[in-house]
C-alpha cells in the first residue's frame, strides 16, 4: 500500500512488519519519533512486543542484548551522543553475535551542540563489529530495516540502518508499504540456536583466554565476509519479492552504456541531490557518474575496485571527518583502490558538516574543482568560509 510517511515512522512501520518482540530505547533528537510511534503501537496492542523503558542508551543497548540473548527479535534506535553512550555495549552485541537491528539517525557530535545531519557519529562506531547500511530515501529506509533483520540473523551480527537527520528522519515521502504476509514470507520468525535458557544454564560471554580470543575475532571477520555475499543475495531476493533492490555499491551512470570521466561517490540522502546535479551538469555539457555506496560494514572492497577502478577521477563526498586524517569514506575508498596497478585520482571532499545544506550547486562546484586544476590533496574542503 502506498502511503505518505515521515522517515521516522517508516522505520516504526518496518519494525512492526518485522514482528519485533522487544524494543528498548532512550529518546534523543532526531531519533525520538521512531520509538515514540513504536511505544504507541505497543501500548495500543497493535505490536505484540515489550517496550523496555530505560534511563540511558547504554541501558537500552544492554536491554536489547539481554532480549536477543534470550532469543527475541530486538530493536533499538539512537543518534549522535546516544549512540556514543552505547559504544561499550555495541562491542558486546557484536562479540556476543546477536542480530540486533538499530536505526541510527546521523546527527553531529557536540560541542558545539548541533542536532543536524552529520555522519561522524555512526562512522565513529566503525570498528565495533556492527554492519552499517546507509539509506538514500524514506523507501530505502523502510526496506533496509527488513533486509537488515534477515541479514543480521543470517550471519549472527548486529546491523545499523543509518539515515540522515531531518533530511530523512523528518521528511514525508510517498512510500510503498509491503503487506504483512509478504514480509512474513521474506522474513520468517528468527530461529536462534544459541540462547539463554534457565533450564540449561550455560556460561555466556565469559573469559576467553589468549588461547581462544583470536579465533573468536576471526569468526566475526568471517561472518562479515559472509555478510557481503549474503547482503547481495538478500537484496536480490528483496528485489524479486518487492521490486526494489539497492546493491552494496550502485553505479548511476550519466549516460547508459558509457563511462563519464568522473565518478562522484555519495552516501545517504546526498545521493538524491547528486542525481539532480548530475542531470543539470549533463545539460551544461559535463558528464558525471554517481556511485552510491550503501554498505560501509562489511566494506565491499572488491565491488568498490570493480566499479571505481576504471575511472580517471573519483570524487568522494564525505559529510563527516576523522580529525587528523580526513573524510572517512574517502579513506576507505583510497585504501580499497590502493591495490590496483592503475588507480583513479581520488578527490576527497568534505562538505555539509553539522547539517549545512549540500545543494546541487555545492556538487556542481565540487565537480568543477575536480575536473579543473585542483592540486592533489588528502582533504579538500567545500563551502568553507575561509
Amino acid at each position: 500500500m502506498r502511503r505518505v510517511l515521515e522517515g521516522s515512522h517508516a522505520v516504526s512501520h518496518a519494525v512492526e512488519l518485522a514482528r519485533v518482540k522487544v524494543i528498548s530505547a532512550y529518546p534523543i533528537t532526531p531519533q525520538t519519533h521512531i520509538v515514540e510511534r513504536l511505544a504507541e503501537l505497543v501500548a495500543d496492542g497493535v505490536l505484540d512486543a515489550r517496550f523496555i523503558r530505560v534511563e540511558s542508551e547504554h541501558s537500552a543497548m544492554a536491554a536489547v542484548i539481554g532480549a536477543a540473548s534470550a532469543g527475541a527479535r530486538s530493536f533499538t534506535a539512537s543518534s549522535s551522543h546516544g549512540l556514543a553512550l552505547m559504544h561499550e555495549m555495541l562491542h558486546w552485541a557484536a562479540g556476543a553475535r546477536l542480530p540486533i537491528v538499530m536505526a541510527e539517525v546521523n546527527r553531529a557530535m557536540g560541542p558545539g551542540w548541533n542536532i543536524w545531519a552529520d555522519q561522524t557519529d555512526s562512522l565513529s562506531q566503525r570498528d565495533t563489529g556492527w554492519m552499517q547500511l546507509y539509506c538514500e530515501d524514506v523507501q530505502e529506509v523502510l526496506d533496509t530495516i527488513l533486509i537488515a533483520y534477515k541479514l543480521a540473523e543470517r550471519v549472527s551480527l548486529p546491523a545499523m540502518v543509518v539515515l540522515d537527520a531531518f533530511f530523512l528522519s523528518h521528511t514525508y515521502e510517498p512510500v510503498e508499504v509491503p503487506d504483512q504476509d509478504e514480509v512474513d514470507a521474506f522474513l520468517p520468525a528468527w530461529e536462534p540456536t544459541e540462547i539463554l535458557d534457565p533450564s540449561d544454564p550455560r556460561a555466556f560471554n565469559q573469559l576467553a583466554s589468549p588461547e581462544y580470543y583470536m579465533e573468536f575475532r576471526y569468526k566475526i571477520q568471517q561472518a562479515m565476509e559472509e555478510a557481503l555475499r549474503a547482503h547481495d543475495e538478500i537484496d536480490a531476493e528483496f528485489g524479486q519479492r518487492f521490486g526494489r533492490s539497492y546493491g552494496a555499491v550502485r553505479r548511476i551512470p550519466c549516460r547508459e552504456g558509457e563511462r563519464a570521466p568522473l565518478a562522484l561517490v555519495t552516501t545517504g540522502s546526498v545521493t538524491g541531490t547528486a542525481r539532480v546535479a548530475q542531470a543539470t551538469l549533463r545539460e551544461k555539457g559535463t558528464d558525471v557518474d554517481v556511485v552510491k555506496l550503501k554498505l560501509f560494514r562489511p566494506f565491499p572492497h572488491e565491488e568498490v575496485r570493480r566499479v571505481l577502478g576504471p575511472y580517471e577521477r573519483v570524487v568522494v563526498l564525505d559529510r563527516n571527518i576523522s580529525f587528523g586524517s580526513g573524510g572517512i569514506f574517502a579513506g576507505e575508498i583510497r585504501a580499497a583502490l590502493a591495490g590496483l596497478d592503475r588507480r583513479p585520482r581520488v578527490y576527497p571532499f568534505v562538505a555539509g558538516l553539522g547539517g549545512r545544506d549540500i545543494t546541487p550547486q555545492t556538487i556542481e562546484s565540487i565537480v568543477a574543482r575536480a575536473l579543473g586544476d585542483e592540486p592533489p590533496a588528502d582533504i579538500l574542503w567545500e563551502g568553507l568560509k575561509l
Binding site: R97, S156, E194, P201, F204
Partner: protein, 587 residues
C-alpha cells in the same frame, strides 16, 4: 566434568560460551550476605487497636478473594461491618502512603468486604470444639462484650452474654444513629457472633436481677457495661435539659421524640454530633454550643465536617450557665462566654470565663451531650477507678481484695476503662479479655505471652499470633516509609466513598456513606504499598541475575535457591515493600 579443548576454529562456538551445563558451578558458595523473605509489620496494623492484618487483607482484596480478606479481618475483629462505618481509623493516620500522597481508605475497604459478605450471606466456619474450656460471664453486649464473647467462644469456652437492654449491641444499637450504622448491618454482624453459640440474656441489669452471687458461679467475668449515666451539666436549671444519649436511644427504638423548633445541643463530642444531626433529620433546628473552639472538639473531624455540611450552626467558647423555662413555653439558655488559656493540658487547652457579657438565647429545648459516666450497677471500685489493676493496654481487673478476693476474677474493659472511648478500642478490650481469660483457664501465664502477640511496639494484640498462626512468623519490625522502594509506586488519588445527597441527608435517616463498588475497591486497594508483606510482585524474580528466585505460582510462594544465589542483594533493594531482608551469612 572433563575440560573441553578446542583444537580448531571450527570446534569453537560462535561466541565465548560454555560447551556444557554450568549447574555444577554452585555460585552460592561465594555468598557472604544472604537474602531472605521476611514478613514485617505494616504501620496500619500497629495503628489498629484491634491489630487487624490490614496489609494482608489488602493483598487478598487485590487478588479478588473478598471472602478470604473478610475472614482475615475477622480473625482479629468480629465487627468489620461496624468498624468499616464508625471507626476513627487510626490505621489511616499510620499509613505510609500518607507520606507519599494520601493514606489508603482502609476504612471504606473494610466496610466493602463486610458488606460483600453480608450481601452474599457468607458465614465464617464454625468454631472448632476445644477441650478444657471454662464458663465465662460477659456483662454488657456492646462492642467490648461482643468481641470478648466472640473470641472466648472461638477459644472453646461457654459464654453467657448479659445486657441491661433487650437486644445485644449496646451503644452500637442504642447510641449510634441509623444514618451512620444501619440496624440491619449491625444485626447481621451480631448474629454471626451469636450463631457461634454465645448465649445472650437480655434485660439483665447488673445491680438489678443480675447479681454478683450469680456471676460468682462463673470461672471468670468480663465487665463491659459501658458509660450510660449522663454527666451533670453543672448549670442552674439543668433538670430542664434532656439527655442526648436517651434521645438517641429513643430514636433507635423507633420512637419519634417530640422535639421541634430551635434546639440547643450542648457538647462537642461524637454524641453531640449524633444528637444534632438526628434532630435535624427529625425536622428540628439544632444549634451546637461548645465551651471550647471548633478545633478542640473531641468528635471525629469527619463527623463535625458532615454536620456543618448539613447546615448545623456551631457556637463555640460558650458554656451553659442557666436554663430558665419561659412562660410561653421553651427556655432561655444563658451561656458564659469563655476564653482559652495558653497552657495546653493533655491536648485540650483550658478555658476560663472571659469576663465578657453572657449570651442569652431562647430555644425550644436543650439537649446535653457532654459525656457520660459508668452505667448504673457498675461497682464503685470500677466507677471510681481506684480498685482496678492494669491487665493490658485496653484491659483492667478489679483488684482481688475484700469481697472480690472470694469471687472469680473480674476483668473490666470498653468505655469503662479506655482513655480513648471508641468502638475499636472496646473491641481491643474484649479481645484482650478473651486472651487473658483463656490463658488463665488453661494455666498459661498471660503476661509472658503478651510481648509475642503484641503487633509492633504500640499496637494491639493479635489472636492469629496467640493461636500460632502465620503472623507469629512476622518480624516485629514496623516498616517505615523510608524503608520502602517507592520508585515502583505511582501517584494515585485517594478515592473517598460516595455519599448520598445533602437533601437526602437533611430529611431522613438513610446511611450517609454509600458502599463502594468492587471495581472502586480494587482500584483503591491497588494504592496499598503492602508494607512488609510479599504480594508476589516478582521484582525479586525479575532482578535476580542468578535465576535463583524459585517460584511456586500455585502456592504463591517464593524461595531462594541458595545453591546459586551469590548474595548480591538486588532482590532486597528492589523489593518495593521491604518484605525481604539481607543478613550476614552464618559462618
Amino acid at each position: 566434568m572433563s575440560p573441553v579443548t578446542f583444537r580448531s576454529v571450527r570446534d569453537l562456538p560462535p561466541m565465548s560460551r560454555s560447551a556444557d551445563t554450568m549447574l555444577w558451578n554452585r555460585t552460592g558458595s561465594w555468598r557472604f550476605l544472604r537474602p531472605r523473605y521476611q514478613d514485617k509489620v505494616a504501620p496500619c496494623a500497629e495503628g489498629c487497636p484491634a491489630a487487624e492484618d490490614i496489609a494482608r487483607v489488602q493483598i487478598l482484596l487485590g487478588q479478588g478473594d473478598f471472602e478470604a480478606a473478610w475472614l482475615r479481618i475477622r480473625e482479629e475483629n468480629p465487627l468489620p461491618g461496624v468498624c468499616g462505618r464508625v471507626c476513627y481509623h487510626p490505621c489511616e493516620e499510620a499509613c505510609n502512603r500518607g507520606e507519599y500522597d494520601d493514606p489508603v481508605t482502609v476504612n471504606s475497604l473494610e466496610r466493602f468486604l463486610a458488606d460483600h459478605a453480608w450481601k452474599l450471606g457468607l458465614t465464617p466456619p464454625p468454631p472448632e470444639p476445644a477441650a478444657g474450656g471454662g464458663r465465662v460471664a460477659v456483662v454488657g453486649a456492646g462492642p467490648a462484650g461482643l468481641a470478648a464473647a466472640h473470641f472466648l467462644r472461638r477459644l472453646g469456652h461457654e459464654v453467657d452474654l448479659f445486657d441491661a437492654r433487650d437486644e445485644p449491641g449496646g451503644l452500637l444499637r442504642y447510641g449510634i444513629p441509623e444514618y451512620r450504622l444501619p440496624m440491619d448491618a449491625l444485626a447481621w454482624e451480631v448474629g454471626l457472633i451469636l450463631n457461634d453459640g454465645v448465649r445472650f440474656h437480655g434485660n439483665r441489669r447488673l445491680g438489678g436481677d443480675l447479681t454478683w452471687d450469680e456471676l460468682s458461679g462463673y470461672d471468670a467475668v468480663f465487665l463491659a457495661a459501658g458509660t450510660w449515666k449522663p454527666a451533670p451539666l453543672g448549670a442552674e436549671g439543668e433538670e430542664h435539659a434532656r439527655d442526648g444519649l436517651a434521645l438517641l436511644e429513643a430514636i433507635r427504638r423507633g420512637e419519634t421524640p417530640e422535639v421541634s423548633g430551635k434546639v440547643a445541643v450542648i457538647g462537642g463530642g461524637n454524641t453531640a454530633m449524633d444528637v444534632a444531626r438526628s434532630l435535624l433529620r427529625l425536622g428540628a433546628e439544632p444549634v451546637v454550643y461548645y465551651r471550647r473552639r471548633l478545633q478542640d472538639m473531641p468528635a471525629l473531624p469527619e463527623e463535625i465536617h458532615e454536620a456543618r455540611e448539613e447546615g448545623i450552626p456551631f457556637q463555640t467558647l460558650l458554656a451553659p450557665k442557666r436554663i430558665e423555662p419561659l412562660p410561653q413555653g421553651g427556655f432561655r439558655l444563658v451561656l458564659t462566654t469563655m476564653e482559652i488559656l495558653e497552657e495546653d493540658e493533655g491536648g485540650r487547652p483550658r478555658v476560663v470565663p472571659s469576663g465578657h457579657p453572657d449570651v442569652e438565647v431562647e430555644v425550644d429545648a436543650v439537649v446535653t451531650a457532654i459525656g457520660a459516666g459508668p452505667s448504673e450497677g457498675v461497682p464503685a471500685e470500677v466507677a471510681g477507678g481506684g480498685g482496678l489493676v492494669s491487665e493490658g493496654l485496653h484491659l483492667k481487673r478489679i483488684a482481688p481484695e475484700g469481697e472480690w478476693a472470694d469471687r472469680p476474677p473480674v476483668f473490666v474493659g470498653g468505655d469503662l476503662v479506655n482513655d480513648r472511648k471508641a468502638v475499636v478500642t472496646a473491641i481491643a478490650s474484649g479481645k484482650e479479655a478473651a486472651l487473658v481469660i483463656d490463658a488463665r483457664l488453661r494455666g498459661r501465664d498471660a503476661a509472658s505471652i503478651w510481648p509475642s502477640i503484641r503487633v509492633g511496639r504500640r499496637g494491639g494484640v493479635s489472636m492469629n499470633r496467640y493461636l500460632g498462626g502465620d503472623r507469629a512468623a512476622q518480624q516485629d519490625h514496623v516498616v517505615r516509609y523510608d524503608e520502602l522502594n517507592t520508585i515502583y509506586f505511582r501517584f494515585q488519588e485517594r478515592r473517598e466513598r460516595p455519599r448520598i445527597t445533602l437533601e437526602e441527608r437533611r430529611t431522613g435517616f438513610d446511611e450517609v456513606k454509600m458502599r463502594i463498588s468492587a471495581s472502586l475497591a480494587l482500584k483503591e486497594s491497588e494504592r496499598c504499598f503492602h508494607c512488609g508483606q510479599c504480594d508476589q510482585c516478582d521484582n525479586c524474580y525479575l532482578f535476580c541475575p542468578d535465576v535463583s528466585v524459585l517460584r511456586d505460582l500455585r502456592a504463591g510462594t517464593r524461595e531462594i535457591n541458595y545453591d546459586y544465589c551469590k548474595g548480591c542483594g538486588v532482590c532486597v533493594v528492589e523489593c518495593p515493600r521491604n518484605a525481604m531482608v539481607l543478613e550476614e551469612e552464618p559462618r
